[in-house]
């Protein structure tokens, strides 16, 4: 029993193993500040004649829980280049203001969970301000119990990472390694422990890694996702983003750029947030899309039938849209919705648009090109016009109303890409997705029906002639 109690006491009293390593390491900036503030004798004087020593004992600071913070992490308005002169009425005001610094990280909600602090907050509401440093000291803040046993690994890590932990990179950039416990609890990964993703890290071990830049750190961190989401990772390897990344374009997005790191929410069918994610890089395209008939319906009418970015570009294996293989797939993409009777019926749109395209010259040619491709790489001499060539890609407009004139001029331009001599009347050769009727294409309609009637009549006549001829022959015999 005594042995068990002894072990617990030892565990309580032993500081984390990595603390010793961090103990000796303070940031370059901190060393710079301590150059003056580490010396005894420096004093700050106030208007009322009171004064306070601005000496920081380096040894005590290095032993404090905040040793991993740099000076400017708390004293935000100061830096190695800037040392603003500030005036205070007296020591009391100065100490009260210093408490604000603490409460930027240690928020009221957190303080209220402890009875002792809750009573202080109540007193504050009555007008009696409290000073954190009265109990905890300023630069020498120690762990309350000199080392705790944490309920979970997450709580252990959040003990530091819930506050603004600065990470400095080789290029001098600083990033806060802060993790919001509320957000992480709301994320899809709330049931995971920190080291499930951050393998190699634990309460015993805190790797010291060096990254050239913040971007390199982000990209390296994104590699953590593949341990569980290998299927998505593999798909991404075939994407244009991965291709760019492998060519050295470090700004090409990786997992966490779209999904976030610790706050990964279930994306699912939230088309608005998907489009917004893409917009963080593809701003111009996003604006065009937002003004299109699809984007307008999504953002202004909250219509979730319309396609968002990933419906055409797919979510992970995003292909290069500038290659002919992608271009040839466009009618399929559009027909995902435009050939769906159920969806189109809601908007009074005809599914004939896809059928008429696919059964006409261009659609048939495209379909056969694709068949050819399955055997060997095939490059048509001229790319066949597909939906987007006339209707636009991200700027697809309503085909009725004022925008229809734009459509018609698009049409002629597109025709001329292959039919070089096309005149202004040339687009009339295309019946605009309508089947021939007596009204819109009388000639085509009449010819179609003439053959529909004549051909069976002729065939029946011929067969009758054959039948009578054979019959007569048999009768004569």
């Amino acid at each position: 029993m005594a042995a068990v109690a002894g072990a617990i006491i030892t565990a309580l009293a032993t500081p984390p193993a990595h603390a010793a390593a961090l103990d000796r390491q303070v940031s370059e900036e901190t060393k710079y500040c301590l150059g003056c503030h580490g010396r005894l004798g420096a004093v700050k004087r106030f208007s009322n004649g009171e004064s306070v020593s601005v000496h920081v004992d380096p040894a005590k600071f290095k032993a404090s829980v905040h040793r991993i913070l740099s000076c400017t992490g708390c004293h935000e308005e100061f830096s190695p280049d800037m040392h603003p002169e500030r005036t205070f009425r007296g020591l009391q005001q100065y100490r009260a203001r210093a408490s604000w610094i603490c409460r930027k990280c240690h928020r009221n909600e957190e303080l209220r969970t402890r009875t002792v602090h809750a009573s202080l907050l109540d007193r504050e509401q009555e007008g009696k301000a409290f000073v954190c440093a009265d109990c905890h000291g300023a630069h020498e803040v120690m762990p309350v119990s000199g080392g705790k046993v944490y309920a979970s690994e997450e709580k252990y890590c959040l003990n530091c990472h819930a506050y603004g932990m600065p990470m400095t990179f080789a290029d001098g950039a600083v990033r806060s390694a802060v993790v919001d416990p509320v957000m992480i609890a709301a994320s899809v990964h709330s049931n995971l422990s920190c080291s499930d993703c951050h393998f190699g890290f634990s309460s015993e071990r805190h790797l010291k890694r060096r990254f050239r830049s913040e971007r390199e750190f982000v990209l390296a961190s994104a590699e953590l996702c593949k341990r569980c989401h290998f299927d998505k990772y593999q798909k991404r390897m075939g994407s244009i983003h991965y291709k760019l990344l492998s060519q050295g374009r470090l700004d090409a997005p990786s997992c966490t750029d779209c999904h976030g790191a610790h706050y990964t929410a279930y994306v699912g069918k939230d088309r608005v947030s998907i489009a917004r994610k893409c917009s963080s890089c593809h701003k111009k395209v996003f604006v065009t899309y937002a003004n299109s008939v699809h984007g307008n319906a999504l953002f202004n009418e909250a219509n979730h039938d319309v396609p968002t970015c990933v419906d055409c570009h797919s979510p992970h294996n995003i292909k290069d849209p500038m290659v002919s293989g992608y271009h040839d797939l466009i009618p399929e993409m559009c027909s995902n919705c435009h050939a769906d009777e159920e969806i189109m019926a809601k908007y009074g749109l005809s599914t004939d648009v896809v059928r008429t395209y696919l059964s006409d010259f261009h659609g048939v040619t495209l379909g056969l090109y694709k068949k050819q491709k399955s055997d060997a790489p095939y490059k048509p001499a001229r790319p066949i016009a597909v939906c987007t060539d006339c209707h636009g890609t991200h700027n697809i407009t309503d085909t009725s109303g004022p925008a229809s004139t734009v459509l018609r001029s698009n049409l002629l331009q597109r025709c001329r890409m292959c039919h070089k001599d096309a005149t202004a009347d040339f687009p009339d050769t295309w019946l605009s997705h309508y089947g021939p009727t007596l009204k819109n294409a009388p000639l085509v309609f009449i010819i179609t029906w003439a053959y529909r009637i004549l051909m069976p009549l002729m065939l029946a006549g011929l067969l009758l002639q054959v039948f009578l001829h054979v019959w007569r022959f048999l009768v004569n015999r």
Partner: protein
């Protein structure tokens, strides 16, 4: 086929036992060549054309891929189409030349007799006449096939060129003519294909009159026996006798087959 250049004097070399030729020259080498050129081009055009019309069928896609893809298929189709157009042109020029300068008889012209022959043959088939109608060089069935193929061929050539060069066609035609030409080209091709596949193949292979094969388009000759049965008026003209002598009056007389044994006419 409108005028005939067959030289029947050669046919007199082979005669039957009563001094009449046993076979008669029906088609000249020129017509035979023309016919087989049409057959060859027609087969190429049908294979490459119908696979485009029925693009959704497995067999069409197989054919197109075998040829080397849709672009290659179209190239073959258009090349054969150009040759076919030249053949149509040659035929038209030949007909015009023959009629104008050689004073040949345009034997494919549809006459009032053809309609009477149709009526007569229908009556014959249902048992109201004892003999089929007596026809000249081309009977109404042959004229029907000829005119459908000839007019169809011209339609195919014109619509085919409009589809090949739509931008140029639209310079002097309304835009709607292009989809109309497509419907027409596709259906007319199908129509000619059905006509030939059903009727012509029956008439020259499966018909009990010629089975197993009508060889006249190979050898150029037709038996006198068949001439008597199928083209008695032409035979009468060739042999310089009255049609009654060939047909035996075409009334209640015995069938033409037994006529061979009858004494020769004047």
């Amino acid at each position: 086929m409108i005028y005939d250049t067959a030289d029947n004097t050669k046919s007199s070399a082979r005669t039957n036992r009563i001094g009449r030729p046993s076979r008669i020259r029906r088609f000249s080498a020129y017509r035979i060549t023309e016919h087989w050129c049409v057959v060859g081009l027609f087969l190429v055009l049908v294979v490459t054309g119908l696979s485009q019309r029925f693009y959704y069928l497995e067999v069409s896609q197989w054919t197109i891929l075998l040829i080397g893809g849709i672009d290659a298929t179209r190239l073959v189709h258009r090349f054969a189409g150009v040759l076919f157009s030249l053949l149509v042109l040659e035929h038209l020029v030949g007909v015009a030349f023959g009629v104008m300068f050689l004073r040949t008889q345009p034997s494919m012209v549809i006459t009032k007799k053809d309609f009477l022959d149709v009526r007569h043959n229908i009556r014959y088939y249902i048992g109201l006449e004892s003999r089929p109608s007596a026809c000249s060089r081309y009977d109404y069935k042959e004229k029907f096939v000829y005119w459908l193929v000839a007019t169809g061929g011209i339609i195919m050539v014109m619509t085919g060129f409009a589809l090949w060069f739509p931008a140029q066609a639209v310079r002097f035609l309304p835009g709607q003519f292009i989809p109309a030409a497509k419907v027409m080209h596709s259906n007319e091709g199908m129509l000619i294909f059905l006509l030939l596949a059903v009727w012509h193949i029956y008439d020259s292979i499966f018909s009990p009159d010629v089975f197993p094969l009508d060889t006249s388009m190979f050898s150029g000759y037709i038996s006198r026996e068949r001439m008597v049965r199928e083209h008695p008026l032409e035979l009468a003209e060739l042999e310089g006798v009255s049609s009654e002598e060939i047909t035996g009056g075409w009334g209640d007389e015995p069938p033409a087959e037994t006529q061979d044994d009858a004494p020769p006419g004047s």
